[in-house]
């Protein structure tokens, strides 16, 4: 089966984010393959190992996003597609979905499109749903386990209470949660092999998109840093400390 996995190159989430006006600063920042997407790549590789076929990585981003694709290729994916175009700077989730949909159509026929539930930098979580609509594919979200048999995919879909067991026919789009699998480390031979694997770079025009298709309609109204955690309350024991701590824990519904 042929699988397309959407991957995103994001600023290293282990480094405190820097802002460029209202947007996250990306240029000159060490980037990585979104850790959430590593689960998608691993899911694709496991399915490929079980059923044969190819895993194609699809990404949109600046030229440096090649690195995220290389990372996935060194894990074992077969080829990559990067859509990079100056007009896409600051693209919103819908434009991203249109671009990825066009890239996936152009890249080939796929039985399955896999994406992370949400990106680790933007967190809108809306891209995969839009992408499924644009590709006219059924979508199954929050996959915790994935099983493919005879043209259908069966998924344990994570919910707050437990799982929904969802089955749907292929082709389909899946979003995977963190923890769906254990992403492999790239072996040295994998890293070396990845350097020789094909990565296509396409522009917006290459995809036959123009004007309204890539017009960014969403505006970031503003951003504020999350409130810093406040220093805790210091209780000096005057004989009542135990009770005050117990009350505090009870108030927080911990006990």
């Amino acid at each position: 089966m042929n699988i397309a996995v959407c991957v995103k190159h994001i600023p290293d989430p282990n480094v405190p984010p820097q802002m460029d006006g209202k947007y996250l600063k990306r240029e000159g920042i060490q980037g990585v393959l979104d850790p959430g997407d590593e689960f998608g790549v691993e899911a694709g590789l496991l399915l490929k190992e079980a059923h044969g076929g190819e895993v194609t990585l699809v990404s949109m981003g600046p030229a440096a996003a090649q690195e995220a694709i290389r990372r996935g290729l060194s894990m074992g994916a077969d080829k990559g597609v990067l859509v990079t175009d100056d007009t896409l700077k600051g693209a919103d989730a819908l434009v991203t979905a249109r671009v990825l949909a066009a890239a996936i159509k152009k890249a080939g026929q796929f039985d399955l499109v896999v994406a992370g539930v949400e990106s680790t930098d933007g967190y809108t979580g809306t891209m995969p749903g839009s992408l499924a609509e644009l590709l006219d594919l059924p979508q199954v979200t929050f996959a915790k386990t994935i099983e493919v048999t005879d043209g259908t995919v069966k998924v344990n879909r994570q919910t707050a209470e437990g799982y929904h067991v969802v089955e749907c026919s292929l082709p389909a789009l899946l979003t995977v949660t963190a923890g769906v699998n254990e992403p492999r480390y790239a072996s040295f031979k994998g890293i070396m092999a990845a350097k020789k694997k094909p990565v296509e770079t396409w522009s917006v025009a290459d995809l036959g998109l123009a004007g309204e298709d890539v017009a960014i309609k969403q505006d970031v109204a503003g951003q504020t840093p999350a409130e810093e955690r406040k220093a805790g309350e210091v209780i000096t024991d005057d004989g009542s400390a135990a009770k005050r701590i117990a009350d505090f824990l009870q108030e927080a519904k911990v006990i």
């Binding site: 492999r184 480390y185 790239a186 072996s187 040295f188 031979k189 994998g190 890293i191 070396m192």
Partner: protein, 381 residues
């Protein structure tokens, strides 16, 4: 503040970056637990094989990566920085592979080296005996000719992973007393009459099992003899030249880890209203530590380059082992000092580092033997 990667080629950089990630994310967090439990990190060795790190400096024909020994040593340093006991296991594995690669027949390489490099097998090295340590020529374990091979009998001591390894390079006496009477053999795990008889309880390296091995009429096929009969001592010494560089790289990694901890602690710890690293007296200690580490790293990499160029590197390997392990001892001791009372309690890793450093001055030839090697070679030339 791990080793600088700027001067490396692309391939080396890619390898080291991959190893660094594995070391920091997987090996380092596991180290303290394995050490506390005195448990061999078998799962990590398996992962080492999956990452293609079990035959770095050996030919691709035998499942190796065919990369320079220098690159392999940088990998060892990175792993030692995260988890010394585990890096020592890799160094010992490589020591066994070295002997087979350099002295083994084509058949033995296909049989044993290919399995060592793929990580299907892990190797160990066994020279020392209860009565024969620095005086290795005095070894007493016997190998008597038997139908199609040899029967080995005797006791071996201080064998790292001797009971965990799949293949142990064992030196035993096939001939008369003296160096020329010694031969080298690959003894496979599970061979009847061969196994660990006692696991030593140690000051450090607790998750790197050290075994007393018993050979009791253990049969080894002739095809598993490494090199010619009587060549064993030469093989043992050549392996040690190579292995010493592994210990030098381990030492540098450990010292770097201790410096990194000391830098972190002295930046966070405040006394007299300021971080303690604002005191020049402490900065001088940190400066000395960093300088010694950098010098040691340059020394082992220089020796490795000589080795990769096919030149003699015995003196340089002994110098590197001597200097880097003494450096590790000094730097880890200073790291404990810089932590004050916290350095002496197990909550911080530097007390373990200090215990671990001590063994580096002893293994693969004590540092007194290194001086002997250097001194003898100096007056010969």
């Amino acid at each position: 503040m791990p080793a600088d990667l700027r001067l490396l080629d692309d391939e080396q950089r890619a390898l080291i970056q991959m190893v660094r990630e594995f070391a920091d994310e997987v090996a380092a967090p596991a180290a303290a637990g394995y050490e506390e439990r005195s448990e061999d990190p078998a799962a990590l060795y398996e992962q080492l094989a999956q990452l293609d790190l079990t035959g770095i400096a050996y030919p691709e024909d035998y499942n190796g990566l065919g990369l320079p020994y220098e690159t392999y040593l940088m990998v060892v340093e990175e792993i030692a920085r995260a988890y010394l006991g585990f890096a020592v296991g890799l160094s010992v594995h490589t020591l066994c592979a070295f002997a087979v690669n350099s002295f083994g027949s084509e058949e033995l390489k296909r049989d044993v080296l290919a399995r060592l490099c793929s990580g299907e097998w892990f190797g160990a090295y066994s020279l020392s005996e209860p009565g024969s340590g620095s005086d290795a020529v005095a070894l007493a374990a016997k190998a008597s000719g038997s139908d199609g091979g040899y029967r080995l009998s005797g006791s071996k001591v201080f064998c790292t992973r001797g009971n965990e390894a799949d293949a142990v390079l064992v030196m035993a006496r096939t001939g008369a007393a003296g160096a020329k009477g010694i031969s080298a053999f690959i003894v496979e795990k599970g061979t009847q009459g061969f196994g660990g008889s006692k696991k030593e309880d140690k000051m450090g390296w607790r998750s790197s099992p050290t075994w007393m091995l018993q050979l009791d009429d253990a049969f080894v096929p002739g095809s598993r003899r490494v090199g010619a009969e009587g060549e064993g001592f030469r093989i043992a010494l050549a392996s040690l030249d190579s292995g010493r560089l592994g210990i030098a790289a381990c030492s540098t990694g450990l010292a770097q880890a201790a410096l990194d901890e000391a830098l972190r602690f002295t930046a966070e710890r405040e006394q007299f209203g300021k971080p303690v690293n604002q005191n020049q007296g402490l900065q001088f200690m940190l400066a000395d530590m960093a300088t010694q580490i950098a010098a040691g790293r340059a020394l082992y990499r220089h020796a490795a380059r000589l080795r990769d160029a096919g030149e003699s590197y015995s003196i340089e390997a002994a110098q590197a082992k001597l200097f880097c392990s003494d450096t590790a001892m000094r730097v880890t001791t200073d790291a404990v000092q810089l932590h004050g009372g916290y350095g002496y309690i197990t909550e911080y890793p530097v007390e373990r580092f200090m215990r671990e450093a001590k063994a580096l001055q002893i293994v693969e030839g004590t540092n007194q033997i290194q001086r002997l090697v250097i001194g003898r070679k100096l007056i010969q030339s």
